[in-house]
Amino acid sequence: MAGASPLAGHWRLLPERSTDLSGWKALDLDIKIEGDVVTLQRNFAAGRRTFEDVTPIDLAKADNVIPVSMWPDNRHIGAYIGGDKTKNVHGQWLDGGRVFRLNTDLVLATQQGDRQVNILDNFTISTNGQQLTLIELRSTRTRPVVYVFERVSKDAQRKTGNAE
């Protein structure tokens, strides 16, 4: 099932259909599926600044412990990767492979210290396989984050906007 999943491929955020990207101006998502391992590679950009992280999830494991160098998900707020700078991730396929779900636990460091946070990510593919919708629920946030991606060629030029 996994090898044939339409989730695999290179995806680019559609800002006009998504939640504002919290400081970044562009986000590419590259998804590779090899057996039980799903690897998510995110590339954020704002002007000339970029940040990339890679999250390999072995679906056969109940818990994947993954090092985290930076928490890029909301650069407007004073929250940084904390604790031992890892995240614990569990992944699973739902609905016959149409939906991929991640359940992540990590610690964010704030001005008052470390705070445990849980994050649920649902990746849903459109029936034509051309659009990917990511709905993220953070235990600390009162609104869902919705990112809509389109399938693009990895070489397609992207707009990264301006940043001081």
Binding site: S22, G47, I77, G78, R115
Partner: protein, 569 residues
């Protein structure tokens, strides 16, 4: 090296000071303590002029549009205003520094100036009145953008009107003769080669107190609003890059900056097409130079000369006395501060006065733009509170300032804060990162130096985006921004951001310091606060700091050795 320099009007002052210093050394030490080592004040008149000329300029700032006529007008403005404020330009409504127009009314009503208004971009009428202040003209090459920047340098030191070949007949109609012709000589050359040529030809005669980086908009557009002041001061102009990807430009830029007077001013802005704000400001600070950052800051050759009215005194809206101790409750306390230079923000936009709000004052304007400061101070609402910045007497990154330069620069900043009735110093450092990557925090040793240099401050602020340097010493907190309000951030998402911070920081009191990016209005900020599901108390910044001093729920933290560093590529 300094003694080998030709004596110009600008460094003559320094030479005199150096000689006086040998005679009155003890007295001068006392002066240095209070910041008198700062560069000379631009020429100032005793009283604003009774009459002046107002020239409206269009909103077209393309090189193939109205830039040629604007360049001519700007050079004429710099020359005519050199010894007296004669020409003020009325910029369009969409000009980034939005106070240019309100200052016209302020000059009329508060300073008694009566303006004679010319037609839009009417350079012919302007020359009819003021061509006598030019000794001739310099021709820039329409095929080479950088030749216009060189022409501004020539304009200042040769008293030359800036024209392109199409405008030569107009200049000659007003009796001006050719002085320098830049046509053809720069074609096929790099910017490093062009500015090296200009350096070889003119730098020795240029100001050591001001260097103009005429960057900002790049390519087909140019907004050289600061050019009049550079011409007035006989400054060297360039848009040389501080980016290591351009080693030839960087090497020349270092040579220029290293040749300027200690603690003098770089005015303008880095080129959007070449380097980053972080790279350029890091470099200028490493030479101990103060950045006054806006390439399109208008009319400074006029406004720098206008004195404060005799009845005016800088007075801030303090809500607490320096020694007050406040009782803090288990609440969420919020303070909002706008930086990014008053005048490109929300001062004239809806909502100001509705909630307590902080505004960072560019303190160097006490020398360069006192008129604007008087305008801001006199038009403040009781809810407006001013703070000092940015990091020192100009826009500087403290991690890039040498330890040797730091005390004198901060003495200058202390002096400016005292004159401007400011009690809070805001610090920003993009030398090792920015709001996206790297870090904007301060090591403990640097925090120690700030506390040492500003004993009368009631507290410090750090960051631009969120940062994580926190301290509390002797009742004086150093608090970093916990939130950055992006201009594009919708109200609902911003409210969700604040609520997320409130969730992430469960202890009460929680001190949420918010940086409001330039064009966000106070009205938008109030809407964000109004839409929160949690009750917060929005307080003036001085109250916020006093509360933060009463019960420290934030953890003391400085930049750590393992914090990521990004050199702003």
């Amino acid at each position: 090296m300094r003694s080998a320099r030709p004596v110009t009007r600008n460094n003559l002052t320094i030479l005199i000071i150096m000689r006086l210093r040998s005679i009155f050394l003890p007295l001068l030490f006392a002066s240095v303590t209070f910041g008198a080592w700062a560069q000379p004040m631009p020429h100032r008149v005793d009283k604003a002029p009774a009459e002046a000329t107002l020239i409206p300029v269009s909103s077209n700032w393309r090189l193939d549009g109205d830039v040629p006529v604007h360049a001519t007008i700007l050079s004429l403005q710099g020359l005519a205003n050199r010894d007296y404020p004669r020409i003020y330009l009325e910029y369009p409504d969409d000009w980034q520094w939005e106070i240019a127009k309100p200052l016209i009314g302020f000059l009329e009503t508060r300073h008694g100036v009566r303006f004679e208004r010319l037609g839009m971009d009417d350079v012919d009428a302007a020359l009819k009145r003021y061509a006598k202040f030019a000794k001739g003209y310099v021709v820039w090459d329409k095929e080479v953008r950088s030749s216009l920047i060189v022409a501004f340098t020539v304009s200042g030191i040769r008293d030359a009107l800036v024209v392109n070949e199409d405008q030569i007949p107009l200049a000659e109609k007003h009796g001006l003769k050719p002085l320098v012709d830049l046509r053809g000589i720069f074609r096929g050359k790099t910017d490093a080669e062009i500015y090296q040529w200009a350096y070889d030809q003119y730098w020795a005669e240029c100001s050591r107190d001001y260097y103009v980086v005429l960057g900002g908009h790049a390519g087909a557009e140019m907004q050289p609003g600061i050019a009049d002041f550079g011409v007035m001061q006989r400054a060297f102009f360039s848009d040389l890059s501080a980016n290591p990807k351009h080693p030839d430009e960087l090497a020349l830029l270092k040579k220029i900056l290293g040749g300027q007077n200690k603690h003098s001013t770089v005015i303008g802005w880095h080129s959007y097409g070449k380097d980053t704000e972080g790279q350029h400001t890091t470099l200028t600070g490493s030479f101990g130079l103060k950045m006054e950052g806006l390439h399109n800051l208008p009319n400074i050759s006029f406004t720098c000369q206008i004195p404060l009215t005799p009845d005016f005194k800088f007075s801030n809206n303090h809500s607490v006395a320096p020694d007050d101790k406040l009782k803090v409750e288990k609440k969420i306390y919020v303070a909002a501060i706008a930086t990014d230079s008053m005048g490109i923000g929300a001062w004239t936009k809806p909502g100001r006065g509705e909630i307590p709000y902080g505004w960072q004052v560019l303190m160097g304007w006490l020398r360069l733009n006192p008129l604007a400061l008087q305008y801001f101070y006199e038009s403040k609402h009781p809810n407006d509170y001013f703070i000092g910045g940015l990091s020192g007497p100009g826009y500087m990154y403290p991690k890039s300032i040498t330890v040797a330069d730091f005390p004198a620069l901060m003495a200058d900043a202390r002096n400016l804060m005292q004159q401007l009735d400011l009690r809070v110093m805001e610090i920003m450092d993009y030398s090792e990162g920015n709001r996206h990557v790297g870090n904007t925090d301060l090591p403990k040793e640097l925090v120690d130096r700030y506390y040492h240099e500003f004993p009368n401050a009631i507290g410090f602020i750090n960051g631009y985006g969120s940062a994580r340097t926190y301290d509390l010493r002797d009742g004086k907190p150093m608090i970093s921004y916990d939130y950055y309000l992006d201009v594009e951030r919708p109200v609902v998402e911003a409210a969700a951001d604040l609520e997320e911070l409130i969730q992430l920081n469960p202890q009460r009191p929680y001190y949420l310091l918010m940086h409001v990016r330039e064009r966000n209005t106070v009205e938008k900020v109030r809407q964000i606060f109004d839409s929160l599901s949690e009750q917060v108390e929005v307080v003036p910044l001085d109250v916020f700091l006093k509360l933060a001093a009463s019960n420290q729920t934030y953890k003391t933290r400085y930049q750590q050795p393992e914090d990521h560093i990004d050199l702003n590529p």
